[in-house]
């Protein structure tokens, strides 16, 4: 080992340093994850019974990732004097993996030797047991080294395989993990179409994919991926090549298809999945509202929860019999009309003072407004109106023409209600984006002073964004109240604003589909501020993951999961221009002067006031 290492140092010291750096980071990450309590807590969740639990998956991921990172051939390796050979790369990856695994080995030793439980709450016997596989520290020490090196090697080797093989293997692994993570969803769905037998061999009775199930899943997905790879690309390319009306038709068909699935899906699945869908839908609605404000108009509103709160409380006051001061007990739909008016007023009231402020001041002031509104609802002062800390309870659900009642006991109905309002929100966002107002929002987002100089009344336009956002947020509030049947100030913490923001950003600011995808992935899997997702076990670490995800997203993929084309141009302008230029798309004038038409000449895009 040392001789190889020595060789490596002499030959490519930079590469070796990289190995050490990434390996050390992997080890640190491992230790951090272990001490966060994640592995022990997640150990109860099986992935593949009986060999792999989510807890182990979490710690095993680090050496693998280290291996994959180190297995990557450095960019422009053709220009290097001594490009690393495959063997070098695998050795590097193995060493990195070894280091990452070594982190856990050392941690296991430390755990056995010292007691640091005083500040570190997860410095526990359970962790030691987890790390030593219940076999004593010595076993754990060796095993982690071996596992780390092994996984590093696997990761590194994987990277050297052809991209096709990589994809197939990735698909196989992801399918098995996804099948385990989405277990309740899959079970629900499969049972909905009366295929219980499938569930029985695929999943173990207490959760997790069975070995047989995992093998079958891996093989099926692997074959599908192997066969399907080229085809998906061709279809994509064909669709992309389509022009005008034909393209529109394909898109419309797709949208209609998704719509039909969304309408049929709740009928096939059980309560739990419907509840999940309803929660996701609620956040889709809220995120679409915030998307108008942040994504389209470029106003960073950190107090969006205020609109949600106002919608909830006004609905509660207007419909509940137990509302403390005024209790008109209006039917939900009638109340909704008033709620919209109230939302518009609140949107104007909050919007007007902040609208002329610089972006960052606006952020902090809207955050302040959000807190002020929550504190007012909480206060003893106004408890005669809003119930204060005791909230308003025993609120009836939505009565639909006397035919049926939508309330929390029937999540399927709630989901349809949410779906209806999501459709409205999507329609509103879509129409407005393609209107005079939408263009004005874009201009304001791009460069506010210039927009102003081009005759756009930026104040009015931005106020409109606030108002539209407020109305959509209040829809969310109204549904929330009908669903939960009670309203307390604790539902409207700053946290909610932040999570909605993460959803919008993760999905892709300014893109309706991105926002929906963001809500489905984040809220569906991790869960909302007070809503569990599919991975209930993650709830303790949800916010940690949200934070990390937000940072990572901003650094690696600021345009989000499904970016709006525009937004991604904005964020990658330089690269984009270079691409365009390389593709010969960039327009060069007839009498071109190289000095004037270079790709480096970009306009100032950061726009803020």
């Amino acid at each position: 080992m040392t001789t190889t290492a020595g060789l490596l140092i002499r030959r490519v010291p930079a590469a070796w340093r990289r190995v050490v750096r990434i390996g050390a980071l992997g080890a640190l990450g491992q230790v951090f994850i272990s001490l966060s309590g994640m592995p022990v807590r997640l150990d109860v969740r099986e992935i593949v019974v009986p060999i792999l639990s989510l807890g182990y998956l979490v710690v095993l991921a680090a050496p693998l990732v280290v291996g994959v990172l180190l297995g990557r051939r450095p960019e422009h390796s053709g220009f290097l004097a001594n490009p690393p050979s495959n063997r070098d790369l695998v050795i590097g990856a193995t060493t990195g993996g070894l280091m990452a695994g070594g982190g856990l080995s050392i941690l296991a030793l430390l755990l056995a030797g010292f007691d640091l439980r005083d500040p570190l709450i997860n410095w526990s016997p359970q962790l030691l047991e987890f790390l030593s596989f219940g076999r004593g520290t010595g076993a754990g020490f060796i095993v982690w080294l071996v596992i780390g090196a092994g996984l590093g090697m696997v990761g590194g080797t994987l990277r050297l395989a052809t991209s096709r093989t990589q994809k197939v293997i990735m698909t196989m692994a992801l399918t098995v993990v996804a099948a385990a993570i989405l277990e309740s969803l899959v079970v629900d769905l499969v049972e909905g179409v009366k295929l219980e037998a499938l569930v029985e061999w695929m999943y173990a009775p207490r959760g997790g994919v069975t070995l047989l199930g995992a093998a079958v899943l891996a093989i099926v997905s692997g074959v599908l991926s192997f066969v399907g790879q080229g085809r998906i690309k061709t279809v994509q390319a064909r669709v992309q090549a389509m022009e005008g009306p034909k393209r529109t038709r394909v898109n419309l068909t797709l949208i209609a298809g998704v719509g039909v699935v969304m309408i049929l899906l709740p009928l096939l699945v059980g309560k739990l999945t419907n509840e999940l869908l309803a929660n996701v839908g609620l956040f889709v609605l809220l995120a679409l509202g915030l998307n108008v404000v942040v994504g389209l108009a470029g106003i960073l509103d950190l107090g969006y929860v205020a609109f949600f709160a106002v919608g909830s409380y006004s609905t509660a006051v207007l419909t509940a019999a137990t509302s403390p001061r005024i209790a008109p007990e209006l039917p939900w739909f009638v109340a909704l009309i008033l709620v919209i008016f109230i939302a518009i007023l609140v949107g104007l009231f909050i919007g007007a003072p902040v609208i002329r402020m610089r972006g960052d001041y606006l952020a902090i002031v809207t955050l302040g407004f959000g807190e002020i509104i929550r504190l007012l609802f909480l206060s003893d002062w106004l408890s005669g109106w809003f119930g204060g800390s005791q909230g308003i309870t025993a609120i009836d659900g939505v009565d639909v023409f006397g035919l049926l009642t939508v309330d929390g006991t029937n999540p399927r109905r709630v989901f349809y209600l949410v779906l209806f309002f999501c459709a409205i929100a999507i329609y509103i966002s879509w129409r407005l984006e393609r209107s005079r107002l939408g263009r004005a929002w874009m201009a304001v987002r791009e460069d506010e002073p210039v927009a102003e100089a081009m005759g756009i009344n930026t104040v009015n336009v931005k106020l409109m964004a606030f108002v539209v956002g407020a109305v959509l947020g209040s829809f969310g509030g109204a549904i929330f109240v009908a669903k939960v049947g009670s309203v307390f100030p604790t539902s409207f913490l700053i946290l909610v604003s932040i999570i909605i923001l993460v959803v919008v950003i993760f999905g892709g600011m300014g893109n309706i589909f991105g926002v929906i995808a963001g809500a489905v992935v984040l809220i569906g899997v991790l869960g909302g501020p007070k809503q569990p997702g599919l991975l209930v076990e993650f709830s303790e670490f949800k916010l940690l993951i949200y934070g990390a995800l937000l940072v990572w997203m901003m650094l690696a993929r600021p345009e989000g999961l499904i970016p709006s084309a525009r937004r991604s141009r904005e964020l990658h302008q330089e690269e984009f221009l270079q691409d365009a230029w390389l593709r010969g798309e960039i327009d060069t004038d007839e009498s071109n002067d190289p000095q004037t038409a270079g790709p480096t000449q970009t306009t100032d895009s950061d726009g803020g006031p």
């Binding site: 950003i505 916010l543 940690l544 940072v551 901003m554």
Partner: protein
């Protein structure tokens, strides 16, 4: 942007109404307070709040002192916001968490010292020690933060680093939850001579300490920025990064220094927090952080003296505001609304004077 006071549009009219209303509420509240101080049975005071009781001089002094000591801490944290904003032009939302890291570090260190018996036997030494440790840890946190999250984004559109900083804030806060647990943790007992009230104005020793240390830190920072080469480099970078770079200033290193100094200040503030309140929890940094940022804005961001003054203003406002303004107006349970008062003050100040009380000092880009 031109901001004339003469209303031109409907929005301007609305804002004028709002300004008048805000001033009106404050004025009526204060007048009612004065009236009830003159005589509790004053008809004017009774009319507005039939349950008015008034405050004694000692109570009033207590409010002011607690407001000042809290405000001094906001001011110290605000310096970090202000410096980063002045130089890089974005809110480092996570700065409040750096402060929390400082308070946590102090808690862990001081408890270990207490276990070793050093806390009681050599309090001053222990205090200095935890201040140094906390400053180091905070500086390191701030510098790592800059390196990992902000440096790659220096050229990105403005919202991006702001959102990143929100993410970091969340991450650090919840790191504390998962590593140290979600419950509040206490510093060991302070010696009696520190917590006892001094004969001088009957102020607790801890509060005197907080105010003095804040003043010292402020002085040190002023000297650093105005009198040293590093300070000059910072000011140059704040003025124009590119030109400063051309003039031979190492921009990266200067920005790191800005973060480091801000972090160190937050570290000091964290220890002061521990000394004053003795209790820390993962969200210790969040609200004080936001209020400190509000202080920086209120005082005029980028303006170091203004940040300190803004901190004192916000501290005083949230301490005295509920009782001086809201209570005389007949609002019940006013203390619950202190955060609302602090934020309302921020909004009010920005409505009346968009550049803060003492004016902003911003980099060239921000003025554009």
């Amino acid at each position: 942007m031109a901001n004339n006071w003469a209303p031109k549009t409907k929005v301007d009219w609305f804002l004028t109404v709002l300004r008048v209303l805000a001033l009106g509420v404050v004025t009526v509240g204060l007048l009612a307070f004065i009236a009830q101080q003159i005589s509790v049975d004053n008809p004017f005071a009774r009319l507005i709040n039939p349950d008015a009781t008034g405050l004694t001089v000692a109570q009033f002094r207590g409010l002011v002192i607690s407001g000042l000591s809290q405000g001094a801490m906001y001011g110290l944290i605000a310096l970090g916001y202000s410096m980063v904003y002045g130089v890089l032009g974005f809110i480092n939302f996570a700065h409040g968490e750096v402060f929390m890291v400082g308070a946590m570090t102090g808690m862990i260190t001081s408890n270990k010292l207490d276990d070793a018996g050093l806390w009681e036997s050599n309090f001053i030494g222990s205090l200095l020690f935890i201040v140094v440790v906390s400053m180091l840890v905070c500086t390191l946190t701030a510098v790592i933060m800059e390196r990992v999250a902000y440096r790659p984004l220096r050229k990105a559109p403005r919202l991006i680093p702001l959102i990143t900083s929100i993410g970091i804030s969340f991450f650090i806060q919840n790191t504390s939850v998962v590593l140290l647990g979600p419950t509040s943790k206490a510093y060991p007992d302070m010696p009696d001579w520190l917590t006892a009230k001094r004969t001088f104005l009957e102020i607790e020793g801890t509060k005197i300490l907080v105010i003095c240390v804040a003043a010292l830190a402020m002085l040190g920072l002023w000297l650093l920025v105005e009198r040293t080469k590093t300070g000059k480099a910072m000011r140059a970078v704040a003025e124009d990064q590119e030109i400063a770079g051309l003039m031979g200033v190492n921009v990266n290193r200067t920005i790191v220094k800005v973060f480091a100094v801000g972090g160190a200040m937050a570290g000091v503030a964290g220890i002061l927090w521990g000394v004053l309140f003795r209790s820390v929890i993962h969200y210790t940094g969040f609200l004080p952080g936001i209020k400190a940022f509000s202080s920086a804005v209120v005082g005029g961001i980028g303006n170091l003296g203004g940040s300190m003054a803004g901190g004192l203003f916000i501290g005083l406002a949230e301490s005295t505001g509920p009782l001086l303004i809201l209570e005389p107006l007949g609002v019940s349970g006013v203390s619950q609304l202190r955060d609302a008062v602090a934020f309302a003050m921020l909004i009010g100040v920005l409505l009346l004077k968009p550049s803060g009380l003492f004016g902003e000092r911003l980099s060239a880009e921000d003025r554009a």
